[in-house]
């Protein structure tokens, strides 16, 4: 009996909760039921904050191990991560106590002088790889590839001023391609993935997908 509860208890609880969510989401229910549904959703957000806390603790524990054992080629990175985490934690907490919050000067400096330029630079570097890859990938080997290159050029011309200078029609043409063929191509993908989520959810709720066995 206890093994039955252990195995099916969590599924049953989650199933009942999801059914409850569906009822409050799709139907008009009495006020207390609605309020309870709202409370449950709000609790989910509170759980989200705790998940961040658990994640931080977990990453600290994970990186303490290679640091303690001086794992070759890893401990230096772990040390950097732990130092940065500690600095972020200290400056962030100091910001809370000072009343300045995220505008606390040392904390804001960490983000504005280090994180923001680093993050933007890493993303910007992509352009070099895209340029190099497109030179190799856009080879007209057959009719389909020719069509791909043609549409790619139209979209690129529609997105830049030079295209507008060459022929103003590129802008509405690019807009049309995005509005109709692109939307038509993406819609089945979205519908397909939506159906996949429903089926996976149903399988999980019916106990057909049991993980961790």
């Amino acid at each position: 009996m206890s093994s039955m509860i252990r195995r099916h208890g969590p599924y049953l609880t989650i199933t009942l909760l999801i059914v409850f969510f569906f009822i409050t989401y799709l139907f008009t229910t009495p006020q207390p039921v609605q309020l309870f549904g709202t409370q449950l959703v709000q609790w989910a957000s509170v759980v989200g904050y705790f998940a961040i806390l658990v994640g931080t603790i977990d990453i600290v524990i994970f990186h303490l191990k290679p640091l303690r054992s001086r794992e070759s080629g890893q401990w230096q990175y772990s040390a950097v991560l732990l130092i940065i985490t500690a600095i972020g934690l200290v400056t962030g907490t100091a910001g809370v106590f000072s009343g300045a919050g995220i505008n606390y000067q040392p904390f804001a400096w960490l983000y504005n002088a280090i994180y923001v330029p680093s993050n933007a630079t890493v993303y910007a570097i992509l352009v070099f790889y895209i340029a190099s890859a497109s030179y190799r990938a856009f080879r007209i080997k057959n009719a389909q590839a020719a069509f791909l290159v043609l549409v790619g050029f139209i979209i690129m011309f529609a997105d830049i001023g030079v295209g507008y200078v060459i022929w103003p029609g590129f802008v509405p043409l690019g807009n049309w391609i995005n509005t109709y063929p692109v939307a038509a191509a993406f819609r089945p993908i979205i519908i397909g993935s939506g159906l996949g989520v429903i089926i996976t959810g149903l399988r999980a709720l019916l106990g057909r997908d049991v993980y961790g066995r």
């Binding site: 959703v41 340029a131 997105d159 830049i160 993406f186």
Partner: protein, 285 residues
């Protein structure tokens, strides 16, 4: 090695391409060309929609982006705020991205002309970072004030006048979602459009534009601005050219260089293939 092979070797050299790209982008940024920008119908639709918003519009705005997306999204946000500011809006800002609070502060510092006209607590509020995007969207639709007891700066939301008029789903005239990811788009459709028919306006980075397009085409969103070019078009429609207009010239240069490389790559691809076939070799890469 014949001429074709020499050209192929030159074009295949990544370092040369990277240097050329850098030179083009830097050169144009230092000496802008002022290339004319055509206005796409989609951008004009967004502009017209915002233009037709009533006086004192209530706006819910999710700043869901990081510095990588800021180049594209911050000018859009700024242009949007500049367009609505004349209507004395009530704006509830929040973010479901962990870097969002920093990005909001940067948005505020980049557009002082907008925020100096808004009184905190009366005209706008910043609710800060709220985790679990879908749960947050669902809760905010039912009441922002009840869901978030304290704003991003620790002040109680209970006494803020803005929530008397901009609190629940039905109060808002438009929800603006600035995002670098498609996930919040789907959550917004489920929790705001499907449940409450809230008008959604998406401002996204160019790379996710095509995957967001079906929601716009189906009428589940009132419009979409995608990428830096759309931001530049929006700035031009406002007659307030900003950072997007300045950057779009360099973007044009980079695109043209890439297109030249693609054309040249194809021009040498066919002779190389013929040569390879004659020599009885394998496929030409």
């Amino acid at each position: 090695m014949n001429t074709i092979e020499k050209i192929n070797k030159f074009l295949s050299n990544r370092q040369i391409l990277y240097l050329l790209l850098l030179a083009v982008v830097l050169g144009i940024m230092l000496h802008p060309l002022g290339i004319p920008i055509g206005i796409a119908g989609q951008t004009r639709d967004v502009y017209n929609y915002v233009d037709k918003l009533p006086q004192n519009p209530k706006i819910l705005m999710d700043v869901h982006y990081d510095p990588a997306g800021a180049t594209e999204l911050q000018p859009m946000a700024g242009a949007f705020l500049r367009q609505v500011i004349v209507k004395n809006p009530k704006i509830v800002f929040f973010t479901t991205h962990n870097i969002g609070p920093i990005m909001f502060e940067r948005l505020r510092s980049y557009f002082p002309d907008v925020f100096s006209q808004l009184k905190y607590g009366d005209d706008y509020v910043n609710l800060g970072f709220l985790p679990l995007v879908e749960a947050t969207f669902a809760s905010m639709a039912k009441g922002c004030q009840e869901f978030v007891a304290r704003d991003a700066y620790g002040a109680s939301t209970a006494d803020m006048p803005i929530f008397k008029v901009a609190d629940k789903a039905a109060d808002f005239n438009v929800v603006v979602l600035l995002t670098t990811s498609t996930d919040p788009i789907e959550y917004a459709i489920r929790q705001w459009y499907t449940a409450y028919k809230m008008p959604l306006l998406f401002m996204v980075v160019a790379v996710i534009g095509p995957s967001v397009q079906p929601f716009v085409a189906s009428g589940q969103a009132v419009g979409m601005l995608s990428g830096q070019n759309a931001a530049a078009q929006y700035e031009l429609l406002l007659k307030r050219p900003g950072s997007a207009v300045a950057a779009v010239d360099a973007q044009s240069g980079a695109h043209v260089l890439i297109m030249i490389y693609i054309v040249l790559g194809n021009l040498i691809y066919w002779p190389m293939r013929k040569m390879s076939k004659k020599a009885g070799g394998t496929k030409t890469k």
